[in-house]
Amino acid sequence: MTFDTAFMLSTLPAFLKAVGVTLQVGLIAIATSLLVAVFNAAVLVFRTPYLWRLVKGYVELARNTPLLIQLFFVYFALPTLGLKVSGFAAAIITMTFMGGAYLTEVLRAGVEAVPRAQLESGRSIGLSEGQLLRHVILPQAGILSLPALFANFIFLLKETTVVSAVAVPEILYTTKNYIALYYKTYEMLAVLTLLCVLLFLPLSLLLRHLERRLQHGQFGN
């Protein structure tokens, strides 16, 4: 068994493009999920009437079903209802649906982790609710939820491989494509593995570092 290195090199431009697509899908999905999550977490924390039940239901539904089913629903079932979307759009919509729910939970947990005494002392020195949120709750909740947020960002970035199922030309789809076209199976699997390790391992190690650094971060006592 020998590696056809010339072939591997010839696929390099295509794989660079694929890494671009992976990052693009991942980063857009992270940004849109975060927007959804900030809104939802605010609804949950302030217990906005009616709306918070809706948000709770959404979070449970999105967290307890596989991404693949959500993806297939958006890509294959919605068109029959007149909503036709491209593979790329389906990928973003679905990953936002799932990621938004995960990040909502992270942010809510972060806010709840701020000690109650912090709120009480904030009120006792006469801060308004808005000031309390801006100067007391959010800075602390932000730091407290940072490791979990980062972990979920990495999770979302890795989940982009699933959208290969609807022909988004990211790294896994590109690999499968080359295998189907040229039968260079083990060269392509080697490239794929290498790309995953290069892309995700540094992030995973950075996360571990961040977790250790913030583990002992305590506030207000």
Partner: protein
């Protein structure tokens, strides 16, 4: 419309049930292997042996860096080429879910064991317990409360991730659904049913995990 939808579901039930059987079998086997492997990982990781820790660290990081779907393809395409070993896609899925799950459960077990007071281990050793007795009678039972809720959460992730088996050709509940859609074009109905199928397995598990966590939070 409504009656034809019910009729379609009744007619498709045997086919869906057969696929669901495959999905549940993959999930269940994955969970069993993940649990056994995870406990083994947790015990090995708390022995304090440097070489063992390094090996476990490499195993863990490989499963964290490489997405599960990529692992599925690596095993599915790779085993026949690199080891001239051809195993059915069903067992590829079980193998990958088991190994990935074991790394996740293993970290939970390691964390739970590490959180026990040192005195427990020392007391056990000082009254002459063997390693097996120490873990079996002293350490693991005490760590159980701490590791059960997060482990149940990992089970829901294994069930959800078992859906990816369809992409390497397992005729699971999703494939069964797709076959029915090819015949009837009822994609909203069928994908809706698949959505609920996974939800009704995973939701009780996550709810149980949360309830146990709350109940045991202060013990």
């Amino acid at each position: 419309m409504a009656s034809s939808a019910i009729e379609l579901l009744l007619v498709s039930l045997p086919q869906l049930a057969k696929g669901a059987g495959q999905t549940l079998a993959i999930s269940a086997l994955g969970i069993v292997f993940a649990t056994l492997g995870g406990v083994l990982y947790g015990v090995l990781a708390t022995l304090g042996k440097r070489a063992v820790n390094i090996a476990l660290q490499i195993y863990l990081e490989l499963f964290r860096a490489i997405p599960v779907l990529v692992w599925l393809y690596l095993v599915f395409f790779g085993l026949p080429i690199f080891f001239s070993l051809s195993i059915p896609s069903f067992w590829c899925a079980v193998l990958v879910l088991g190994l990935w799950g074991a790394s996740e459960v293993g970290e939970v077990v390691r964390g739970a064991l590490a959180s026990l007071p040192r005195g427990q281990r020392e007391a056990g050793l000082s009254i002459g317990l063997s390693g097996l007795q120490l873990y079996g009678h002293v350490l693991l039972p005490q760590a159980l409360k701490r590791m059960t809720p997060p482990t149940i959460n990992i089970y829901t992730r294994i069930v959800k991730t078992s859906s990816l088996a369809v992409l390497i050709g397992v005729v699971d509940v999703i494939k069964a659904g797709q076959q029915i859609i090819e015949r009837t074009y009822e994609s909203v109905l069928i994908y809706g049913v698949l959505f609920l199928f996974f939800f009704f397995i995973c939701y009780p598990l996550s709810a149980a995990s949360r309830a146990l966590e709350r109940r045991w939070a202060h013990s």
